[in-house]
Symmetry: C2
Subunit: 311 residues, 2 copies
């Protein structure tokens, strides 16, 4: 009975408890941009024929990810592998993704798989079976795209110990093409979508008042973040766009509630490749992982500071 009780804990409750245990509101992306990898780990020559060298490259990425995970694990509750970078390396890349997930779970991190999957009902279920089962290679949560509406979202919520993060107001320059359109009733599309997500989530609320259906709102749009936080208080946010894309600590403050809960802030390149930044370049390329750890610690502290938490 005990085991069943633990297994059935809501994803969102596990997430919030882990955040408070680590006292960290960050999320570390695992986005292995090949051209940014340290040369000692990945010889640039083998990138001349990526298809032929998929196995070697994937092996280097796994090594890179393990070192990054070891180095950031004290400063983050969550890691977020971006699937595209693994899919790009074919079968070997997918193996590295699975091994990375298993390694992060071993280190007791929450794994948010960034795949932005979406489809009609029966097919959405197949994606949930691919990535949100209880297998050791499955993730804890998956990013999804809500363009298809409710019946394309609900299948991702079936396993209550797993979560879904639906795109809402994304961090990219063109996100407004669709998301900022103004509806007949004066609302913007992303506001309306936020309400749809909030309403679906009502059936999946955990013990902290947040639901297993979370949303993605970019740090690059702080005004929108502030607005939407007020409208949908039970929806947890993943806030990407910190660092490399331009968002700063003050920009993300409004994504949190008065208890400093309700969001995690992601940085991928800014942490993974910190060794290339002026600020951390003294670590040197060989110590890329230590540089990443320092960058993660710094980001954790910056965010705690604006929210009024001690470090």
């Amino acid at each position: 009975m005990m085991i069943e009780g633990v297994r059935m804990k809501y994803f969102i409750d596990r997430l919030i408890e882990k955040i408070e245990e680590k006292n960290s509101r960050i999320c570390v992306g695992l986005d292995p941009h090949l051209e940014l990898m340290p040369k000692s780990l990945l010889n640039p020559e083998i990138l001349e024929d990526i298809e032929k060298n998929q196995k070697k490259i994937s092996k280097s990425i796994y090594q890179f990810n393990k070192e990054i995970i070891d180095s950031v694990k004290d400063y983050t509750a969550v890691v977020k592998p971006q699937m595209a970078f693994y899919e790009k390396l074919g079968i070997e890349g997918m193996k590295t993704l699975k091994n990375t997930i298993a390694y992060a779970e071993e280190k007791e991190l929450i794994v948010l798989l960034d795949g932005k999957r979406n489809d009609i009902g029966s097919t959405a279920s197949a994606y949930a079976e691919a990535y949100l089962t209880d297998s050791k290679y499955a993730a804890d949560a998956l990013t999804i795209n809500p363009y298809l509406g409710r019946d394309g979202i609900i299948p991702f919520l079936e396993n209550k110990s797993k979560g879904a993060f639906a795109l809402l107001k994304t961090s990219n320059p063109s996100s407004g093409d669709l998301q900022d359109l103004i509806l007949q009733d004066g609302q913007k599309v992303y506001e309306k979508m936020g309400k749809i997500l909030s309403s679906i989530g009502e059936d999946y609320i955990g013990s902290f008042g947040f639901s297993n259906l979370a949303a993605v709102v970019g740090a690059t749009y702080p005004e929108e973040l502030k607005e939407i936080r007020k409208i949908i208080p039970s929806v947890f946010f993943l806030i990407p766009g910190y660092g490399a894309q331009g968002g700063g600590a003050e920009d993300i403050k409004a994504g949190f509630d008065i208890n400093g809960r309700g969001a995690i802030v992601n940085s991928s390149r800014g942490i993974n490749f910190a060794y290339q930044k002026e600020e951390f370049k003294d670590f040197g390329a060989d110590n890329f992982a230590e540089a990443a750890g320092a960058a993660a610690e710094k980001m954790k502290n910056e965010i705690n500071k604006v929210l009024g938490f001690n470090n």
Copy 2:
């Protein structure tokens, strides 16, 4: 120079030429729903532990796909593997997907990979590098989700010999949650999105007046299909929802232009598992592929008939 010329042919021109060569406006989905597979090919007992039996199941699916492809190849220009069903089977499933793509290309079919991928610019490029390269395991086109706007779409169009099919008005019951919302100016969201797709596509128009950026519009919404066809004449349509989801030949007529061009109509379950339908049950489960061939031929003829083509 000749080879370069052939390779650089626009995707949309290759597609239209293949459609006219085959005199077929259908698309055959390759959606291996495990519970619908013929028992002779996939023993239902091994489905009791899918994770453990991924290799066996994937092998059966590859056999199934090869037989379906052999049987339908005279009646269709395009096959469309649905990625979720392969991803669900892990690494082994992904191998089967790659082998299926290569087999279909060998049979000179156009492969439209149904993955509904989407992300911000640099990551969308990684997906394009995963699925739209010139590798023999790459597809000819990929379905994408346009929620992120222009900069999430354009990277999929970089290789002009490949195409992208963006979701527009999808076939599922809840598609209206977002897509039918009415904007301030009286347009619906999908109409506005159709115009965005049409405008992006202007830079990728082939010699028949259609662009490499196509769109998905469901057969289950015939009125919307008619309306949107008129608004964006240069956008080619994939029309899913024929058969199992309820659309019929009269419903899809409005998706084509006056020359009978501009669309392909997809059926997945209705062809893959035709042997389970009253109409084709005399074939028997062992002859599932022949049943699929008969169903594909019938669908091809039905659609040609409403469009006024001879068979």
